[in-house]
Symmetry: C2
Subunit: 284 residues, 2 copies
């Protein structure tokens, strides 16, 4: 495994690999890697000859009052996990390496970025789409793997790649969960033991929606009240949003009459967690 912190070096190494006819899979991360990232990396190993992992806490996707400075970092542990999975190249650039001079260019996806997390994080997705475009241009992968846990991000990046004819296949990989169902997230490290217990309210809510839809409930108003009832039992939990949306366009639906993505964000104290599942009427 090789570690390159500069754009010139990572490009040079990958040009060599491509010249030898090797395909490239790419997993962009913000580091502090957990089992969810490991699953993305394993998927990447399966889909191409060379696995490239970037580790970059991208400042432009954090809002002014968000947790950029506090975001957990542990490069040594991250490199060990990349090595364990058999990554070939790790790219951990500095912000100064990624944003040289005075950048003036942004990539924007309208529509899909306005609801869900876009409401409380209005500049977040422009930061994501711009940095992912940059990373794609640096790594030039054949496939890139993103977690379904960040479902809106996945849908936005799919739309971006379709609209810009990006020569990269975007793969979504299933959410990896703790034994009690909590979705793996680097931000879980922020939780106190008590908040950690309450945090299962996200997956319990989503599973309750799933069960009710399987029983025939289609009214989003009814499902929403059910979830709010569960959240009211957790003293530190505050709902940011619960949304029922079309899986591709992310447009809200009133009735679960077709496959629907149910997504939610919940604050546990100051920590904001997200999760989502697909529900399909009539499916067990």
């Amino acid at each position: 495994m090789e570690v390159f912190s500069t754009i010139v070096d990572v490009r040079h190494a990958l040009r060599e690999e491509r010249r030898r006819g090797r395909s490239v899979a790419f997993v962009p991360t913000m580091g502090y890697l957990h089992e969810g990232h490991v699953a993305l990396m394993r998927e990447g190993r399966k889909r191409a000859n060379i696995l490239v992992v970037s580790i970059f806490v991208n400042p432009t996707q954090f809002g002014p009052s968000e947790d950029l400075d506090a975001y957990p970092r542990d490069l040594e542990s991250d490199l060990a996990k990349c090595r364990g999975v058999g990554a070939h190249v790790v790219f951990p650039p500095t912000p100064a390496e990624m944003y040289q001079g005075t950048p003036r260019t942004t990539v924007t996806v309208e529509g899909l970025t306005q609801g869900l997390c876009g409401r409380s994080r209005p500049t977040h997705f422009q930061g994501v789409t711009t940095v992912v475009t940059k990373l794609f241009n640096i790594v030039q992968p054949d496939v890139a793997i993103f977690g379904e846990k960040d479902y809106q991000q996945l849908a936005v990046l799919r739309q971006m790649a379709r609209d810009l004819n990006t020569p990269v296949e975007i793969i979504g990989a299933p959410t990896v969960r703790e034994p009690d169902g909590l979705a793996m997230s680097s931000r879980n490290a922020y939780l106190s033991p008590d908040q950690r217990q309450q945090a299962t309210v996200l997956i319990r809510s989503l599973r309750q929606v799933h069960a009710l839809v399987a029983q025939g409930e289609q009214d989003v108003g009814v499902l929403d009240r059910e979830v709010r009832g569960l959240l009211d039992q957790e003293p530190d939990a505050r709902l940011d949003y619960l949304s029922f949306v079309h899986p591709d366009t992310l447009e809200p639906v009133d009735t679960v009459s077709a496959p629907t993505r149910v997504a939610m964000a919940v604050f546990l104290g100051p920590t904001r967690l997200i999760d989502n599942i697909l529900v399909t009427p009539g499916a067990p």
Copy 2:
């Protein structure tokens, strides 16, 4: 020479060429090719093994009151010119091929796009940067050649490529002129014989500025008055803008104390023409 109208076909052909180790030069055009385009294509031939030319009148870079429908088209003549220069691949997609589904993604360069042509064409450069990003992703060239005649476009695309780490070398090629100095442009075809004669006022103005700067004049106010005097002598000419700007940032200057790009747009009747030159104090 091969002509491919679909993205799938052009990608397939170029993948083959790249697999054989061939480098690719790209000249994006809106067709109605003239000697200026021929010069860009010749430059492309020199810089890579394979020359790809796109011919696409991009609707998203025209404003609602602009000349999209009237823009001159002559594919047969264009293909003959491409063949004459030795182009290998010509890509003339339809708008439906380039903009599939409901596109929601745009690439925006702030700052450089606001002045000069951006003032009278506020959505133009977003259309250009978005379609050029798409074309780059489809063709994946090593180098791309753009004319200095569209100087602001060249500066904007250089900034975009720098900011997004686009893996393409952007080359600017000198403006090609008619014997009387008028810059070659597909829009010259709109001019009546009388307007065609008056149209030399652009290059006469720029050469007058060049001569005055060579004589030591640095005051932009004085140079501006001089040009307006020349324009007043042409009954069909109306100045859109005359700007003195930094060659990279396109920020306006008051004094020509360093190399300065002088750019102008002039209406001749309904037809808007642009031209520009570099002036350097103390240079002959």
